[in-house]
């Protein structure tokens, strides 16, 4: 995919189809998570995991911000914007992680879907606080972020899955389960194309320290995620997912929020890092690594 994009191929999935696929993936993963909770029950661990996720999402940007200011020549604004991306999460990386876990036969808590939803937004708040933005059209921004499609759809389908339980899954499983791997595969190919294009566009801003950050930060984030998961006693699969969430960087919700709240930040820097460096790193090396680490700790 990457090579094709670098050479400016015309091979792009239409925007509407990409959006439909992402809605499908969000719906399917949310629904399956809800069914998982209906089967296994949730208990206090759900609350603990939600809390841990929220704290991780809000704390990571501080760490990322400090590191970026030290190692790169990015402005404070740009550094804060990048930091927000790394505090938040990438749902597609999460989905790929659940697929890898299922393929490896490792179970995970269904409620991790809800944790993913909870981790999308706090990082934005933290990043804005970092550059002293608290005034202005705050309420508006929050509505934008919270009612952003992905959070609503994840939480909504999670709820539906929880209510209908396994019997609901049986009924729509030809739709939810069978085409899932295929849709994910096409979507990842398309993301690869988009990521490749980003590289082409953002050339200059990509100094070596910045590229290095794009690989080091997910490792740092994932370590924090593993630590938190161990602290609250998640299963091996759940700990791996928490690491994946903490180690992934947003490329949809946060970029849009940053355009509204920090328009002075250069969007191609953060997008290239999250989509062009961290996303492929996580998919190829990160996810297997986090799973192995979780298995080592958990086993």
């Amino acid at each position: 995919g990457f090579g094709a994009a670098m050479a400016r191929s015309d091979l792009s999935v239409p925007e509407a189809a990409a959006k439909a696929m992402s809605l499908y993936l969000l719906f399917a993963i949310g629904f399956k998570g809800g069914v998982g909770v209906a089967e296994a029950g949730a208990g206090g661990q759900l609350v603990a995991a939600l809390l841990a996720g929220t704290v991780l999402s809000a704390a990571t940007p501080f760490l990322a911000f400090v590191i970026l200011l030290r190692i790169s020549t990015l402005s404070r604004i740009d550094a804060a914007a990048v930091a927000a991306h790394y505090g938040s999460i990438s749902v597609v990386t999460f989905v790929a992680g659940t697929t890898a876990l299922t393929a490896a036969g490792i179970a995970y808590e269904g409620f991790m879907v809800a944790v993913a939803a909870a981790m999308e937004a706090p990082a934005i708040l933290a990043a804005l606080w970092l550059v002293g933005k608290r005034e202005g059209d705050g309420a508006d921004l929050w509505r934008d972020v919270f009612l952003n499609g992905s959070i609503v759809l994840l939480v909504g389908s999670f709820g539906i899955g929880w209510v209908t339980g396994p019997s609901g899954l049986d009924q729509i499983s030809p739709f939810i389960v069978a085409p899932f791997a295929g849709v994910l595969c096409i979507f990842l190919l398309d993301m690869g194309l988009v990521a490749g294009r980003g590289f082409r566009d953002a050339g200059a801003a990509l100094t070596w320290p910045v590229l290095g950050f794009g690989i080091a930060m997910p490792l740092i984030g994932a370590s924090c995620g593993l630590a938190a998961a161990t602290a609250i006693g998640l299963s091996t699969g759940g700990a791996a997912l928490m690491a994946i969430l903490a180690g992934s960087a947003s490329y949809i919700a946060v970029p849009a929020a940053m355009r509204v709240a920090l328009p002075e930040a250069n969007p191609s820097i953060s997008l290239t890092m999250s989509l062009g460096v961290t996303f492929p790193f996580n998919l190829t090396l990160g996810v297997p690594l986090y799973i192995a680490a979780a298995a080592t700790i958990g086993g």
Binding site: S12, V13, E15, A18, K19, S22, D137, D140, D144, D190, L193, V194, R197, D201, I252, A253, P255, A256, R259, V260, P263, E264, N266, S268
Partner: protein, 102 residues
């Protein structure tokens, strides 16, 4: 047919700001506006294209036809939203039918 002088204001702005711009224009007494999609563009911040994008990325073009005397409040409202953002505002003289509508 009888026509009346008016102004056509075209604002090219990031899609995420569309709602805020619309609200600002309507508060500034504009009676109507139309939003057109944008496929791509080039400017000081580089070349971009909608192809393969996800999320509410990209830009839109907002066209707003107003009586000449309403241009100034309109521009002020638009500018307050657009100021910190990339984008372009362009004003053209035009004529309209059914002047009572504007």
């Amino acid at each position: 047919m009888e026509t009346h002088a008016a102004k056509r204001v075209e604002i090219i702005i990031e899609a995420v700001m569309e709602g805020r711009l619309r609200d600002a224009l309507l508060s500034a007494g504009v009676t109507g506006l139309t939003v057109l999609p944008v496929l791509g563009g080039a400017g000081s911040s580089g070349v971009w294209s909608r192809e393969g994008q996800i999320g509410r990325a990209g830009m839109v073009a907002v066209v707003c036809i107003v009586r000449p005397e309403r241009v100034d409040p309109l521009l002020e409202a638009a500018f307050s939203v657009v100021e910190r953002h990339i984008g372009v505002i362009c004003i053209t003289d035009c004529e309209v039918l059914r002047a009572e509508r504007f």
